[in-house]
């Protein structure tokens, strides 16, 4: 039995959102998604919501999930996971045959956190790492240093990611983080944890996103925009930062699983474009290599040559990725799914690619994690 995405809804990422509560923001995204899917919440059999208690400032946050989704007295799972892992959880429920329609939700109110670094610190090992009392961006600095060094890349290489994604976002026109910026200008931004600079970091943003999926019967009844979840995989590495190898091992495993399910032999040939986590600039290149889109050490050159540009052979983050749209934490992956669906439906406006039929989405749980997943979407008909 195949599973399809039948509805998407977004309360777009923005720097701050004082005009609405998280409930009102999620309600907006849910209403849009249900309208898009042509369903009402009473038609939904199961819900998965992604959240992290420390980011919400509320323990047992799952209790706060149902109301604004129309999920009262229905099965709801709240998990702390990236977008692909969340979708995989919902996908598996539909595959059991016991559920016909499922809803995936994630949101961000990162602007409400006064000391984000302290929330990050709570994710570090309390005995071995946290007592060192260094701003947790150091974790990205360490990994970036290892990644650049092992490939012979430099900071200008990752600055190209920032320039590409900010420019794509500007062209797309939804985000306030879009700008025409050159890689050289990126290097003028201040160092955060060398070699990581301020502009290498996707700026925090608020927003909400809801995705509706359904079994084949429901999707085909609906008729239009058949977007199939052709493959999915996810993996976690280790919380021990000392063990990381700088190669995004989690994504290699996740990609292998997703490709095999989707029957993909050569991702660049078999897939038309990708949404790839770029929460830090170097992560996009690291993820591109882990996904096998180019060989080890070849991503920087390919990027410079325009291979991943809007008009390139294999566009990556055509709407601007997280750097161009903002870092919405666990919602990043859902924003990526949303934008990939726009592309596959031909609704991506200024950044619309020419009739793409398949999309690759790679998500990462964010700092300081080594977890992520891969989704392959394919348009049918």
């Amino acid at each position: 039995m195949n599973v399809y995405i039948i509805g998407i809804g977004l309360s777009p990422p923005r720097k701050i959102s004082p005009e609405v509560s998280f409930r009102e923001m999620i309600y907006e995204a849910a209403e849009k998604a249900y309208l898009d899917a042509g369903i009402e919440p009473k038609d939904v059999d199961t819900f998965v919501s992604l959240s992290e208690d420390y980011e919400e400032g509320t323990a047992i946050f799952d209790e706060y999930v149902p109301d604004q989704l129309g999920a009262m007295l229905k099965p709801v799972h709240t998990i702390c996971a990236d977008g692909a892992t969340g979708l995989a959880s919902l996908f598996a429920q539909i595959k059991t045959g016991h559920f016909k329609i499922g809803v995936l939700e994630a949101h961000s109110k990162l602007s409400n956190i006064l000391y984000h670094s302290h929330v990050h610190a709570m994710a570090l090992d309390p005995v071995f790492v946290r007592p060192l009392e260094i701003n947790p961006y150091f974790v990205a600095g360490l990994e970036m240093d290892m990644f650049l060094d092992s490939r012979g890349y430099d900071e200008l290489d990752t600055a190209y990611v920032v320039a590409k994604n900010r420019t794509n976002a500007l062209l797309f026109g939804r985000s306030s983080f879009g700008s025409f910026i050159s890689p050289e200008e990126v290097l003028l931004s201040e160092s955060v944890s060398d070699p990581l600079r301020e502009l290498d970091i996707a700026p925090n943003a608020d927003g909400a996103c809801v995705i509706v999926i359904a079994n084949e019967e429901i999707a085909k009844e609906r008729g239009r925009d058949l977007i199939k979840i052709a493959g999915i995989g996810f993996a976690e590495f280790t919380p021990n930062i000392e063990r990381w190898e700088g190669d995004a091992e989690y994504l290699k495993v996740a990609a292998r699983k997703a490709y095999s399910k989707a029957g993909i032999k050569n991702p660049v040939k078999d897939i038309d474009f990708a949404e790839i986590d770029d929460t830090f600039s170097y992560k996009e290149l690291q993820h591109i290599e882990a996904l096998g889109l180019v060989s080890f050490g070849d991503s920087a050159e390919a990027l410079k040559e325009g291979f991943f540009d809007l008009g390139g052979e294999f566009p990556v983050n055509p709407t601007g990725g997280n750097i161009g749209n903002g870092n919405t934490s666990l919602m990043n992956g859902l924003r990526a799914i949303y934008d990939a669906v726009l592309q596959l439906r031909g609704d991506a406006g200024n950044v619309q690619l020419k009739s793409p039929e398949s999309a690759l989405i790679a998500t990462w749980k964010g700092l300081p994690s080594a977890s992520g997943g891969v989704i392959i979407l394919r348009r049918e008909g």
Binding site: S17, F22, E24, M25, E40, K109, S111, L114, M122
Partner: protein, 171 residues
Amino acid sequence: MKFEGISLGLKEFEKEIKVEWKGKLEYEWDCGIALSKFMEGLKHGKILARKCYACGRIMIPPRMFCERCFRPTDEWIELGDEGEILTFSVSFVNWDASRRKKPEIPAVIRLLGTSENMGILHKLGEVGDTLEEVLKNVKIGMKVKAVWKKEKEREGAITDILYFKPIKRRK
């Protein structure tokens, strides 16, 4: 009943090797449309609710959407500050689990004018200092009224209402 054994206090734990971390977990939550107006109302001594025209429920704390009908709510309704007790408890423990002499009395109060089972969570006051007194003075279904902070001291918070106290019947 007396329990045998050694009671452990902070002193005993201080002997252990420990890792200390004082995380600054602070938030400024956006209250949004519904709760911001509710809080603003409290500052002016008003209790505001939202009505859903589809199911007819009057909701407090207010919501811009009805979680049952899954549609936007329609109208602001100002409620009185009197109601009846739906449920209450008498709490004798402090945050550190030590005993309180004078109990706190959390209660759910259905304000007059709201729908059935639509209560506001708050505290009761002026109902006694011992369990016996409280249980004698407080009954489910009893009518109570809000006791507000002085207008100048209100700040737009749920604590602008100090507590609810029984409405004494005139004889």
